[in-house]
């Protein structure tokens, strides 16, 4: 594939293009893009040293794994000396003096950041419409209503749109309830959320600490594996970072599966879905069945509780995680007559409506008198959801689901928060369980819009998960559709 990491690395190695020319090409395209998928683009001068060093390594014949690859970075990762806003007004002037663990690993492996991707404010949203810097437009158009601007999904909407339109080779996103997989699906690209604890959260602006996980948005499953190789490392500075054994996820990704694979399809996920969505699952089954893969129906007992559980736990954690944005030490401060006024004004004016809504929900469910009924209860249900997945994984290797219940919708169409939250109905349970999930594009809707399917694997089985995803990617052949 033309824009794949390995293809570009070959071109750089063969001197068909220089690292600098490559950067120029992507930057030029990004600058002329109308999708609003970057909050900030880095001019060549900002990266000239890295570009030159990268070029030298190619010339010396020892390039690093991601050498010279232009990446987009969700504006939730703190990047040293580069403004990091979480797409919020309250951080719109914030320049961190440190580099997040994950982006540092990407830099260490030679990649070059082209800019900071737009996203939902503090990663709260499923359409990228809550950003202080305005909505991101999906590069795809509804062929029946081509004048409509569509959402790219969210919260990593800018990261997904940028990869889809080719303004970066790959991008980094974060996924709390579907924020990588859902926009990947709506933009027709690959999005991987690794197992919770795989990639350090150190230096990522926190939304919901027990759910947040960094992951790549890419043009191919192999690219996702290559990036995972760089970012999936144990970090002593993140207590929740797992110290399991890491593998080489890219090597052998296209090898033939040597054992019989059983994939479960949750029948309860497919009640009430549209024909477009259902056919993604049917097509996948058809494409894979010849590879000695067995499909079985499975049924969750907890699906209907997942969204409510998520919308108690994530806001609860967020209400506390976002307390530090008070206008006192950094970020935008609004004046006031008293300390309380400064807090009130800074936070009222600094946060958008969705963020405010979730802080209020979170504060409520943690309040004295409500804690047991909401927060504690939700923690118990979360445990049941985990158990539910393990029960199913006793019998199957993977779970296959649609990534989203619908295709990309028009900007401004979903005004009601609940209908917006329902976009994450297939991705949220995985997040609550902490399991890895990958969305790959599987086909087009009747409106000519991309749709995705999600493979869910067991804890830390990313290697297997990427293999099955790569096989499905090859068989479904989305990019040639």
């Amino acid at each position: 594939m033309k824009n794949s990491i390995s293809h570009i690395k070959n071109s750089l190695r063969d001197k068909k293009i220089s690292v600098e020319e490559l950067y120029d090409e992507f930057l030029k395209k990004a600058k002329s893009s109308k999708t609003n998928s970057f909050n900030l683009l880095l001019d060549k001068e900002n990266n000239i040293l890295s570009i030159k060093e990268s070029q030298k390594r190619y010339e010396n014949g020892n390039p690093l794994p991601l050498d010279g690859i232009p990446l987009g970075i969700k504006d939730l990762f703190c990047t040293k000396g580069i403004r990091t806003t979480a797409s919020s007004k309250i951080l719109s002037n914030f320049i961190p003096n440190y580099e997040s663990f994950v982006t540092q690993k990407l830099l260490d492996h030679g990649s070059i950041f082209i800019g900071k991707n737009n996203c939902d404010e503090f990663a709260m949203g499923s359409s990228n419409e809550t950003s202080f810097f305005g909505p991101v437009k999906n590069p795809w158009k509804n062929k029946n209503i081509p004048t409509d601007d569509l959402v790219p999904g969210g919260s990593s909407g800018g990261s997904a749109a940028a990869v889809a339109e080719g303004t970066c080779v790959a991008s980094m996103g974060t996924d709390t309830g579907g924020s990588i997989r859902q926009p990947a699906s709506l933009c027709g690209i690959v999005g991987l959320k690794p197992t919770f604890g795989s990639c350090s959260r150190w230096g990522i602006v926190a939304f919901a600490s027990s759910l947040d996980q960094a992951g790549p948005l890419t043009n191919s499953v192999e690219d996702a594996a290559l990036i995972l190789n760089s970012i999936n490392k144990h970090d002593f500075n993140d207590t929740t970072s797992s110290n399991h054994l890491r593998e080489d996820y890219a090597t052998g990704i296209n090898d033939k599966l040597d054992q019989k694979i059983k994939i479960g399809i949750p029948s309860d996920y497919l009640k009430d879905v549209s024909g477009d969505i259902l056919s993604q699952i049917e097509n996948t089954k058809k494409a894979l069945v010849k590879h000695n893969i067995e499909f079985v129906d499975v049924e969750f007992k907890t699906t209907e509780y997942a969204l409510s559980t998520y919308y108690i736990l994530a806001p609860a954690e967020a209400s506390s995680n976002l307390a530090r944005y008070d206008g006192i030490r950094y970020g935008v401060r609004e004046d006031g007559k008293s300390l309380d006024d400064i807090y009130l004004n800074s936070r009222t004016k600094g946060f958008g409506d969705e963020v405010t809504r979730r802080i209020l929900i979170g504060a409520y469910v943690l309040s004295a008198g409500y804690y047991d009924a909401y927060y504690r209860q939700a923690q118990k249900v979360r445990r049941l959801i985990k158990d539910d997945f393990q029960r199913i994984f006793n019998d199957v290797d993977f779970i296959l689901t649609p990534t989203t219940p619908n295709e990309a919708f028009k900007i401004g169409d979903k005004l009601d928060p609940i209908s917006m939250y329902k976009n994450d109905i297939y991705t949220v349970p995985t997040s609550l369980a902490g399991l890895p999930g990958i969305s790959i594009p599987s086909g087009l809707s009747s409106n000519g819009l991309p749709l995705g399917i999600q493979f869910i694997g067991n804890y830390f089985e990313e290697k297997k998960l990427l293999q099955i995803a790569a096989l499905a990617e090859k068989e479904l052949n989305f990019n040639e559709q």
Binding site: Y98, R201, S319, I328
Partner: protein
């Protein structure tokens, strides 16, 4: 009036752990640095920063647990206590709430000679907040974040205390133990140890009253004053027909009065919940056992040993065991000499402590001089020099001006213990004293003192008084 009333007191003591770094960050944990010098990205609550538990704090909690007879919980959880204040950069304090590391301990205190057992409900680890300074500038407040994240162990007693004296005794016993096991420097002035006092009053033996909490008392004097003031205040309110409201009080050190800071009505809802950035603490028996070996001898055990094994008087033994370094110095001296411990103890709490105090020294400055000291005490105890000469030489020895035996020689202070020489002097002294000799033989003991004094004078103070006494008696009885 207050004769009919009694006070019921529970204490929340905050002990700052003397680790080298903070509870959840690698910033130095030290007092007296320049403002905001010991602050890193975690302490200042920068976006994306994560806490990592400093296991040294867990070990100190375990140590405290062993020393104060606690149940050491193998499972404990750090939670977030949410509130806004400029010296709390994260917008929450990480503390333990539902699952503290220590529960159900106790300590025995000495209450006017009687032992009283004070039960301790729990002790948990938490981070301290920074300091807001409001009195430097009329327009601005200043924030010093050095203290942010400093490890604290909050020790919460049951309401088992019933007087200011008991509270002070409890607090000083706690302080003593924490210093013995080396988890807290005990420096109250610097805030390393401070107390919140929960006090209510009731008619003797009656129902419990409503309590008020007096915050942040950092000296025994203030604790005593605050309790006495608050006790009277509550009685006055009730006796004049009022009701005690559950308030948080501040103690004004300049007026000696307590006043309400906030009432329960305005109390915070802290919205505690388990910190999702931190995994629960799961301890193994192995980890606990390992700490056990480092606890060492506790003050009570040392006191018992000094009294029983070393035959030291109780009051003196108590003084020596007040602080660990005294006890260690004492034990070192005992190990270096065959002089009786009781004799050493008397000198230690007497002239040696006095010297330290007068010269504003640290006791630890004597660590290298213990052998010289015991050599000197040996000379005294074996009557080579007089007690008086010993006291004279001591400061020179403590100042490092030479070996005791050399100093004794140099100053010619060796006692005359040669009987024949003394006999000669005594015989000369008795010449012309027939009248007094008769008085003595007639039963007047007082005359003996007169003779001893005269003889000592004749030896220029160097005669061994015991020997003089003995020879005199032999001569006089003839």
């Amino acid at each position: 009036m207050s004769n009919n009333w009694e006070m019921v007191i529970g204490l929340e003591v905050h002990a700052q752990l003397n680790t080298s770094s903070k509870l959840f960050s690698s910033s130095p944990n030290q007092f007296g640095s320049e403002p905001n010098e010991n602050v890193n990205f975690i302490d200042s609550g920068m976006p994306g920063m994560l806490p990592v538990i400093n296991f040294a704090c867990i070990e100190m909690a375990i140590k405290t647990g062993i020393a104060l007879n606690f149940n050491i919980n193998k499972y404990s959880v750090f939670e977030r206590k949410n509130y806004f204040y400029p010296d709390l950069p994260q917008g929450y304090q990480i503390s333990q709430f539902e699952f503290p590391i220590l529960t159900e301990g106790f300590i025995n205190i000495d209450n006017e000679g009687n032992q009283k057992k004070i039960r301790i409900e729990r002790a948990h680890l938490e981070q301290d907040a920074g300091k807001s300074i409001h009195d430097i500038d009329p327009k601005f407040s200043f924030i010093d974040l050095n203290r942010v994240g400093t490890p604290l162990l909050e020790i919460v007693s049951y309401p088992d205390l019933s007087s200011a004296e008991e509270v002070v005794s409890y607090m000083s016993s706690l302080r003593q133990v924490l210093m013995y096991i080396d988890v807290c420097d005990g420096n109250m002035q610097e805030g390393s140890l401070r107390a919140d006092v929960n006090l209510s009053v009731r008619k003797k033996g009656g129902e419990l009253g409503t309590r008020c909490e007096i915050k942040n008392l950092n000296s025994f004097k203030f604790i005593r004053q605050a309790i006495e003031y608050e006790f009277k205040r509550q009685i006055d309110v009730i006796e004049s027909g009022g009701k005690i409201e559950q308030n948080t009080m501040l103690f004004d050190t300049s007026t000696g009065e307590t006043r309400a800071m906030r009432s329960k009505e305005f109390s915070h809802d802290y919205r505690y919940f388990p910190d999702p950035d931190l995994l629960p603490v799961n301890l193994t028996q192995d980890q606990i056992d390992k700490v056990k070996t480092s606890v060492g001898e506790l003050p009570q055990a040392k006191l018992d040993k000094f009294i029983k094994d070393y035959n030291v008087d109780k009051d003196i033994a108590k003084i020596i065991t007040t602080e660990k370094q005294n006890a260690i110095l004492f034990e070192k001296m005992i190990s270096e000499t065959d002089v009786k411990p009781k004799f050493i103890a008397a000198w230690l709490v007497g002239d040696i402590f006095a010297f330290i105090k007068e010269n504003n020294l640290e006791l630890s400055s004597l660590n290298e001089k213990t052998k010289d000291i015991t050599d000197l005490l040996k000379l005294v105890s074996e009557d080579v020099i007089s007690n008086k000469a010993g006291k004279e030489i001591l400061p020179k020895v403590l100042n490092g001006q030479g070996k005791p035996s050399d100093i004794v020689k140099e100053l010619g202070l060796e006692q005359v213990s040669d009987s024949s020489e003394l006999e000669k002097i005594i015989d000369e002294t008795l010449i012309g004293e027939e009248e007094n000799i008769l008085k003595f033989q007639g039963g007047s003991d007082r005359v003996l003192g007169y003779f001893v004094g005269k003889c000592l004078k004749a030896t220029k103070g160097k005669g061994n008084p015991k020997l003089i006494n003995k020879i005199l008696l032999e001569r006089l009885k003839k």
